[in-house]
Amino acid sequence: MNFVLSLVFSSLAVLVVVLIPWIGVGALDLTTLFGVVIPYAALATFIVGIIVRVLNWGRSPVPYRIPTTAGQMWSFPWIKSNPIDNPKGAGGVVVRMLFEVLTFRSLFRNTRLEYRRVEGVPRINYEWEKWLWLAAILFHYSFLVIFLRHFRFFMDPVPGFVTLLQNLDGFMQMGAAPFNGFGLPGVYITDMLLMAAATWLLLRRILYSQLRYLSLPADYFPLMLILSLGFSGMLMRYLFRVDIVKVKELVIGLFKFHPVVPDGIGVLFFIHLFILCVLIAYFPFSKLMHLGWHLFKPHKEPLQQQPLCPACESLELPR
C-alpha cells in the first residue's frame, strides 16, 4: 500500500474507533455495552489470544537454529568468545535477555544507511542513529509507569507502589499550562514523554524514506491508537474532567465480577476505554505481540544452544 494511503487508512480507522463510543454513549447512552460488555470481551480476546499465539509459536518446529547474534561464538578455548552476546550456557542467556528486555540493547546497535556526496563523490555511510532506541525506551518505560499508575483505579485499597510512582512521576508539582485553571492536577512526566516518544516513532516512519517504504497500516495503526489513547487520557486529566470516583466504581465492579455503571461519567472516559479495548483486542493479532517474542527468538536469544550442524559432531569439529 502506498504510504499516503496507509496513513489515511490508519487515521480513518482510529477516527472510527473514537467515533463509535462517542456516538454509542454520547448519543445512544449505551453505557452498559461500552462500560461492561466490550471491556470483558476485549480482555477475553487479549488473554485467550496471547495464550493461543504463544502456544502456537511454542509448537512450531525449529529444525535448524541459526544463531545470528553479534558476538563471537565459543569455539576453542584459545579463541576469545563473547559470553553475553553469544552465550554458551543458561547464565549467559539470562544476562543477554535481561539486557535485551530491560535496556533494548539490539535497538542501541541501530545504524542508518545514508547516501550522500562528499566532494562530488557518492558515498554510502552507516550513520549514528540512537533516536529509535531513545524513543523506544522512553516510550516503553513511560507506558509501563502509566499502566502501573492506573492501578489506583484497578485496586482498592491502592497499593503503596502506586502511590510511590505517582509521587515520583508528579514530583515537579507543575500545572499543565501556565494559565489559571490549569495549575491542578499536576503534570506527570511520563504523560509528556510517552506522547513525545510515540510521536517521534510515528514521524520517523514518515520522514525517513527507507522506513516510509517499509511501513504498512499495521505499523501506523497501533501507534496512532496509542497516541489517541494517551491524548484522550491527558484530555481527561488536564482539560475535560470526568468523575473519577465513579470511574473507579465501574472499574472495581468489573474486576469483582459485579459490574455497575454509575450515572454521570463523562463520554470522554468511554472513548478512552473503548480505544483501550480496541488496542488490547487487536493486540494478539498484531506486531504488538513482540511482548512475547523474546522467549521465541532462537536466532537472537538461544535458550539452548544447538549444534551448528549435526554433521559437525561426528567430525569432532567445534560446536
Binding site: 511454542g58 482498592d156 489559571n180 474532567r241 473519577i244 470516583v245 472495581i252 454521570g264
Partner: protein, 128 residues
C-alpha cells in the same frame, strides 16, 4: 513443544500479572466512598458551582482561587448563578464541609489522592 515448561511458566506469570487486579480485589470489600454532608451543607443545598462540576473539578477552582487571591488580591468569586463568594478554603468551603475525614478524605483516600492543601492550611479540629 520445545522448551515447553519454560514457555508455559512464562505464560502463566505474564497472564497472572495482567489479571492481578482480579485476584487483588477478590478479597477486598471495595466499598465506594461515602462522603457525608454536614447538617449545614444539607441546609444550604447548593455549593459554589453545580455538584457535577464540584465532583469533577473542585481542585481547579481551588487552584484558581489560590492564584487570584495570592497574586492578584481578588478575594471575591462570582459563581455561574451570580452569587458572590469569598475565596477561602477555610472560611468558605470548610464553613459547610467542616468534617474533613467524613467528606474530603472519603474520596481522596479511595482515589489515592493526597492534596497538599494541608501543607499550609490548618485542618479544622473535629468534634469527636
Amino acid at each position: 513443544m520445545y522448551d515447553g515448561g519454560k514457555i508455559i511458566i512464562g505464560l502463566i506469570i505474564g497472564i497472572g500479572l495482567f489479571l492481578s487486579p482480579f485476584f487483588y480485589n477478590a478479597g477486598s470489600s471495595a466499598k465506594p466512598p461515602d462522603p457525608q454532608l454536614t447538617k449545614k451543607a444539607k441546609e444550604a443545598k447548593v455549593c459554589v458551582e453545580p455538584t457535577r462540576y464540584m465532583r469533577e473539578s473542585h481542585f481547579t477552582m481551588l487552584d484558581e482561587w489560590r492564584h487570584t487571591v495570592v497574586r492578584e488580591g481578588e478575594r471575591y468569586y462570582k459563581a455561574a448563578d451570580g452569587k458572590i463568594y469569598y475565596k477561602s478554603l477555610q472560611v468558605t468551603c470548610m464553613n459547610c464541609h467542616s468534617d474533613k475525614t467524613k467528606f474530603c478524605d472519603q474520596c481522596h483516600n479511595y482515589m489515592d489522592v493526597s492534596p497538599y492543601c494541608w501543607d499550609c492550611h490548618i485542618a479544622p479540629e473535629e468534634k469527636k
